[in-house]
Chain length 722, copies 2
């Protein structure tokens, strides 16, 4: 009745590859309708497998036996993987086997054939080190990238493995991501659902460990989830009393349910999931009845369940002794089976759920067709989002500035760009960490996202929670629904969300970070608020595009690149203070190359000296160049608005902008000198800030640190004299 | 009866200077004993000032009238300061005037004549933007640095202003700092107090705003405070319902008292402090009766109290209209007074408390004398701490390694250093964020800090709370009691605590950050855990010393510098994987110079090429050099273990290590190339990591990214051929 499963006993290399292949042929043989679980042949096969003779067992009781056996198999795959890889984190994967199995077998709506189906339920493993559990569930459910030659990194990465929604591992991040996914769902549901067609309607499940529960980011995100009434978010807390260093009572003595209740959550505790999977199903049912609050399900589990290390922190990571493995196998009647054995019926069992998911996806497309015919306008917008959020010609909406217009701070230009973009980009959504007015990151034509009043609002009020803001923005970007999230705060406070920004880059989340007050030029708030080293640190993050535009046209250029690159995060550093002028030579197209010539009077000759600036200091270069040109000097001014983009340019282009033969160079940026030597060369001068800033008015502060046209001119002259 | 107060009406420049001088002469005229408040002349003067005729008012009621008038004066100083400076954050300073006044006048034990008195109560303003309130209280209490030519930065900085314990402004940090101060007190009390002499016994008060309450770091720190039973910590929450962007209900709907209760706090709410200061005093009394829990006092206030903007977020920051100022002055009967007026009796009123503090300090020194005679051994240790924690010759305890000893990971060497240091440095205390075993940052001869079992323990279990760990470590360092805190996690997770690390540097907190798993060399955990850009970002932080030692002797050298520099934070990056060897040329004295020659066969000639390495990659340089020397090449190997220290060396020394004439240079570091151009010059080659890492075994990962001896040799050869 079932085709041969020869591959199921192949070795599973971890974390490198998974040469274990789920058979697909039997699918044609048991292509029964929904609720296959009760069908005669399926049950018969299981009875054969389980050697259960009594055919009169009622279906519900029988399903319990089946579920238990499937969980045994999940655990054995976890054990075999760790033993084979000689590394890994089995403890939580074993303890949470029931949770993973129940979600993937009985609860979640998904289709392994199309892991990106829009209306799928989302599953996140915030405690990413338990990735083995996720990988095993994805494998038995039939996800392609978990089959032969599987892609199983040490912590889950969405850009590597299908079925993984976000990249987790750094603790707590997944909780914030989950809030972002649930927020996306709530927002889009409000915008697009109609009384007769519900297009957007999925749940978000997130597993959180003790570590996630302790991290500040999960607290911030949880507070927002309740404030936003994200009732379709279910957080499953693995309460196993163990962390790496020992029992949680070393450092954790909270009443976690009371804490979540205080934030506005619905909470429920599952006392004994290992002997009673139904209790977890009941808890989920309880969560489904909740229409105002997110739900925390606290599941008491035994870490490393089965192993002799069970219940102790020793089970957290590392391999098992051979004796231990033997005993575990005995306990679940697995002694006769080869490593990596999968009971064929386990695959068939999972198939019931995935068949169901496949049908739901089909139904969803029918709904979408109906929606298109009945609500063509909304459908058109929805399709734009499904296709990634960009519309043809969107970039023409970006404002342009001419020299005659009044000058502003670059944060002011950013405000104009953002508000113009919002009109043409239906997915543009975001907010700030209680600095909307200072960051000028507010979409004036759109309301606040607020439940139940205006969930369609596209301004998000994050409160003073930078870390959660960035983690939630990653969730918004990775929801896969064309949302283009922006997140704003002061550049200094990028420090609060550094890891989430890194994860934007690692997980290809096209978040746009709007970081104002980008230098000591912010003035009176003083050194605690004045960024110095932040630009350097952020420029070093792989894949992150950092921009520091000098005026309106460069700001527009930064937005052009940021919006266009939907799988790359961008960070736009903007001034608090007014910049000196609209510079003649700046342009959006220049920004696209990262660095370019803003002005040059050298004609066919090479310039005698190159002044390189960014942001509010570019005008100091330009002013100084004008002065020296009057003295007959050949001066070039270069804007190095995005180091990363410039680095990507062809060698010839870079040589054209910064010719190797011109060794007299001065860089001017009110930030750490770190990295500038790359551009000014060994003989150039870096004008930067090597200490913390100072409390004072903007001009006084700039003066104190040498950011004046006079000082730039003085230094340029001294180089020219050499 | 009171000396002339001519200076009290001078202008107060803000944030630059405070030309307001508190008179000191009258102190000799009213040097009454404790409880001066009830003495005849003091009351008489107040009656004169207040024009209260009824001499029969009972003392308690009269004190209420006096307190109210003092608070009026505090508010008027806040208003005048903002108006004069044309900038600032008056809202919270006005709303919390009663809180500040009550603490400084009636509650806290301190002596402005010696702001650093060991046993003083500590006051922290986590909501640092309300610094005006703090500055005004410090001024009227007589702190020297708040008098003429005052030092009043835009946010409070302990290194600028006496009476400011820590540097705050970035929200939430102060809460963690306060937990650190309270932890220091509890720990030292357990170590040194005797039944007959209580040497260590102070309270810690911290004001927290809505922003602090929302930030994850405050949640993490609050959870630990309760776990550690820090009953002498009082957190005063300014519940004013306003943030910059508007009403807190935009983003905040928690039941904050329930939340803190769930964490294990004692909580109490003060409903109407503006009309009833006694209710706040009562809440404090309630906190004093608590012997197990820290206390949260939720004080409902009106932001911008008095102004027409009161109760709205408009009062958060910015100046007032002239009309508004006029009305405010009318409301408190202040119309006739000049700007910056201080009622002379306000100074005298504060003097009662500071006289009391002065006497307590005197008594404390008597106690200390008695303690010295009765407990000479403990007293000797206590004195070491009071003097900063270092003992003569402490550095000789650092281990040395010879070439014959088994090699280890640098985290292993670190463990040995730390444990040797613990024996000679009584103030060495610290822990990790649930990675003690991985970071190898555990003092094996000392217990865990745990209440009530072992509060004298010197290992701190932070749980998975990196941000709070760093903030608490800052508090430990700035307690001023010779504690030398260390804080450990994986280098990648320095991202979680970046702002606190920055504040260590800004506030001169000599925290030692132990960051293991310092490169892609950590292997299997994959890119989420592999640092790439972190070193670059941290090296850019002003004043922070970053070390990446290559072997045991360099690790010892890093500790030598880190411990010796008590007002500079250090960060030691350490490998997870074993390093290849004990290198012959490495030395602690070399580390002290930041960069130095490890080996060179050039004799009197210059080397043909310089290989520069750090950490686990230095041995690749050394190995490659050996190979090429066999081929007759003149090779130099340089360890650049601390960029910051190297930068501080004299020009001649730097030229000696990296002669300008040797342009063939290769740097080898498994991290971002950012910043390396400074050392390899325009013609050198930087071997670095420009993308995220990969999941795999250590050697596979190193191989993938070119960190092999063969690759270094290949690149060196190609340079030599040029």
């Amino acid at each position: 009745m079932i085709t041969q499963l020869s591959s199921s006993s192949l070795l599973w290399q971890y974390p490198i590859s998974l040469p274990l292949l789920r058979p697909t042929k039997f699918t044609t043989q048991i292509n029964n309708k929904s609720k296959t679980v009760t069908s005669y042949d399926h049950k018969l096969c299981w009875q054969e497998e389980l050697k259960v003779q009594d055919k009169h067992t009622d279906d519900e009781s029988f399903q319990r036996i089946v579920d238990k056996r499937c969980v045994d198999n999940v655990r054995m795959l976890v054990v075999d993987s760790v033993q084979h890889a000689k590394t890994g984190h089995p403890g939580m994967a074993l303890g949470m086997a029931e949770v993973g199995y129940v979600l993937f077998r009985h609860v979640m709506r998904y289709n392994p054939g199309n892991p990106k189906w829009f209306n799928r339920d989302r599953f996140l493993l915030s405690a990413g080190h338990a990735c083995l559990l996720h990988y095993v569930c994805l494998h038995i459910a039939g996800f392609q990238s978990l089959q032969l030659g599987s892609r199983t990194p040490g912590h889950p990465e969405n850009v590597v493995t299908d079925g993984v929604e976000v990249t987790t591992g750094p603790l707590g991040q997944g909780v914030a991501n989950a809030v972002g996914l649930a927020l996306a769902e709530a927002h889009l549901a409000a915008r697009f659902n109609k009384p007769d067609v519900v297009l957007v309607d999925h749940r978000t499940y997130c597993i959180m460990g003790d570590g996630c529960a302790m991290e500040g980011i999960s607290h911030e995100a949880a507070s927002l989830a309740a404030h936003w009434k994200l009732n379709k978010l279910t957080l499953i807390y693995d309460d196993n009393h163990s962390t790496i260093d020992g029992h949680t009572n070393l450092a954790f003595s909270e009443d976690i349910c009371a804490r979540f209740k205080a934030l506005g959550w619905n909470t429920v505790t599952v006392e004994n999931i290992h002997d009673n999977m139904d209790s977890f199903k009941d808890a989920l049912s309880y969560a489904f009845t909740e229409y105002q609050k997110p739900t925390l399900i606290r599941v008491k589990t035994i870490i490393g369940k089965l192993s002799e290390k069970e219940g102790t922190s020793k089970a957290h990571h590392g391999t098992f002794t051979e004796d231990d493995v033997r005993r575990m196998r005995q306990k679940v009647d697995w002694s006769e089976r080869e490593p990596f054995h999968v009971i064929p019926m386990v695959y068939r069992e999972m198939q019931i759920q995935t068949d169901h998911g496949e049908r739901m996806e089909e139904e969803w497309y029918s709904k979408l067709n109906y929606y298109q015919s009945k609500y063509p306008e909304e459908a058109a917008e929805f399709k734009i989002l499904l296709n990634g959020g960009l519309v043809h010609g969107w970039e023409t909406s970006l404002p342009k500035w001419s020299a005659s217009e009044p000058v502003d701070a670059t944060r002011g230009y950013s405000e104009k760009c953002l508000n113009q973009l919002a009109k043409v980009l239906p997915g543009l959504i975001g907010g700030s960490a209680d600095l909307a007015s200072s960051n000028k990151a507010y979409l004036h034509d759109y309301k606040d996202f607020s439940q139940p009043n205006s969930p369609w609002g596209r301004n998000i009020r994050y409160g003073i929670r930078e870390h959660a803001m960035a983690g939630i923005s990653n969730g918004l970007a990775l929801h896969g629904s064309g949302l283009i999230p922006f997140a704003a705060t002061f550049l200094t406070f990028s420090d609060y969300m550094k890891n989430s920004i890194r994860l934007s880059a690692l997980s290809h989340a096209g978040v746009i970070y709007i970081m104002t007050h980008d230098s000591i030029g912010l003035g009176e708030d003083g050194p605690t608020h004045q960024p110095v080293e932040q630009l350097a640190g952020l420029r070093a993050v792989p894949r992150l595009l950092v921009f520091r535009p000098a005026d309106g046209n460069e700001t527009a250029g930064a937005y052009k690149v940021a919006v266009a690159n939907r799988d790359v995060p961008s960070l736009i550093a903007l001034s608090r203070q007014k910049v000196a002028a609209h510079l003649e030579g700046t342009s959006a197209s220049g920004v696209e190359r990262g660095g370019y010539i803003v002005s040059d009077n050298s004609g066919k000759d090479l310039p005698e000296i190159i002044l390189i600036g960014t942001g509010s200091e570019l005008c100091l270069c330009e002013g100084s160049a004008k002065t020296l040109r009057k003295e007959g000097r050949r001066m070039r001014v270069v804007s190095l608005v995005s180091w990363q983009l410039f680095a990507q340019q062809p060698k010839e282009y870079k040589e054209n902008v910064l010719p190797a033969r011109v060794s007299k160079r001065v860089s001017v940026e009110a930030g750490s000198p770190m990295g500038w030597r790359e551009y000014v060369g060994g003989q150039g001068v870096v004008i930067g800030v090597e200490e913390f800033g100072a409390s004072g008015a903007y001009l006084d502060t700039f003066n104190k640190f040498g950011f004046t046209q006079e000082n730039v001119t003085r230094i340029a002259k001294s180089l020219l004299r050499e």
